[in-house]
Amino acid sequence: MNKTFNNLKTFYHKLGSSPWFYKISGITIPYVALFSFLFLSIGIVWGVFFSPTDFKQGDVYRIIYMHVPAASVSQAIYYTMTVAAVVSMIWRMKMAGIFIKSMAPIGASFTFLALISGSIWGQPTWGTWWIWDARLTSTLVLFIFYIAIISLYSSFSEKKSADQAVSILTLVGAVNLPIIKKSVDWWNTLHQPASIKFTESSSISPEMLYPLIISIFGFYLVVLLSGLMAMRAEIAKREINKEWFKNY
């Protein structure tokens, strides 16, 4: 009797809530997909084709509808990963590890998008592809963090330890990111005061702002969508031999 109870207990611990998540995410993915497609296409099409031309920068400014949302989600993804890292370290929750594993490549790709769109935007605006200003530098560091997390993960063969190692690195990175940002700011003021700012948020008109907000919303939804899909794939990969998955 005691033995079966113990077996049940370990069985429960091992499964965690992944079957539940797999089931629920399977149901919600079509809806999330629908809404993310809707918001993303409205936001970007409106912004790129129908919003008024900026009187200062001309049409190049339309990159804002992809650059600002990408920059916004790239930071937000790191924050959520930090929360997951804390959960994973304190409660050893398996799903938190799966979350970090799945979100890191997504975060890296959106940080990459933010960097490259900023650079493409910078070329016609300042005449240079790259400028060592505070914001670009800290975004680059964020990108390197994502890459480091991904490569650390792939260096472990045991999933359990990989999750914990990546959680430690994510947390240490999260503690250091504000310090890095602050120090890059000091460095920037010391070397060259920022003469041009990327977005002059004060002067943006409502016709330009609405599609931007919709686009940002769309980006968050598409991150949610790809996160759900990546987590599903990760769960399936890890639990391919589990009874529940075989019978699903």
């Binding site: 890459i147 045991e158 890095i180």
Partner: protein, 220 residues
């Protein structure tokens, strides 16, 4: 705790004494990288003097990283860590002592050696004290990051080390070089020293415990 720390300290000292490559190779690395800059950039004393603080800092950063990222590897491979964990004593003393001994044997010689940049890179001699102070305060932080990277990538490829350590070290690099350049501009560099010290004090417990967690991971 203290008795144990003493024993670990002594053991580390003995093994460093026996393996001269562990403290000689960072020195060689440091000198050769310093020599690369004039060859690659320019031999004009004015140019080099302007770049000297940055070059020195980058070279110290890289050579510190070179030596520290393997500090746990040997103990992991020869079974010393198994024995250590079987004793069930505080891992904190192991981590701190190992970092400290590595700093004494690898970073300190390089810091002392870096005073040669006054001749090699024509650094204005009055700013040497500032440079050395910034290195003394800054390198322990880099050692902490390096130890963490070493603990995370134990027994694996060392390419992970730089990817983890270098982005984390940016603030120290910025503050360290800014201290020197602000001094050369006639300002008081104490702000940068205090900042670096604050970062060290803030990170010391955090990184040490992260190190312990990372070491434990390889025993799961």
């Amino acid at each position: 705790m203290t008795r144990l720390a003493k024993r670990i300290f002594y053991k580390e000292l003995v093994s460093y004494k026996k393996r001269s490559s562990t403290y000689l190779s960072p020195i060689v690395f440091f000198l050769i990288t310093i020599a690369l800059y004039p060859l690659a950039l320019s031999n004009d004393p004015a140019d080099l003097a302007f770049l000297a603080p940055g070059i020195t800092w980058i070279c110290v950063l890289l050579s510190t990283l070179l030596s520290i990222q393997n500090i746990f590897n040997e103990d992991f491979e020869d079974g010393s860590l198994d024995i250590f964990f079987s004793l069930r004593v505080s891992t904190l003393s192991l981590v701190i002592v190992k970092i400290l001994v590595n700093w004494i044997f690898s970073s300190l010689p390089i810091i002392i050696l870096s005073s040669t940049v006054v001749f090699l890179l024509f650094l204005p001699s009055e700013s040497l004290v500032i440079l050395l102070t910034s290195l003394l305060i800054g390198t322990p932080v880099i050692s902490l990051f390096g130890a963490l990277a070493g603990a995370l990538s134990l027994g694996k490829s060392s390419i992970l080390g730089p990817a983890i350590v270098l982005p984390l070290s940016l603030p120290i690099l910025i503050l360290g070089t800014s201290a020197v350049s602000s001094f050369l501009n006639g300002e008081n560099p104490s702000f940068y020293f205090l900042m670096m010290l604050a970062i060290f004090i803030f990170l010391l417990p955090l990184i040490c415990y992260a190190c312990i967690g990372a070491l434990r991971l390889h025993y799961e």
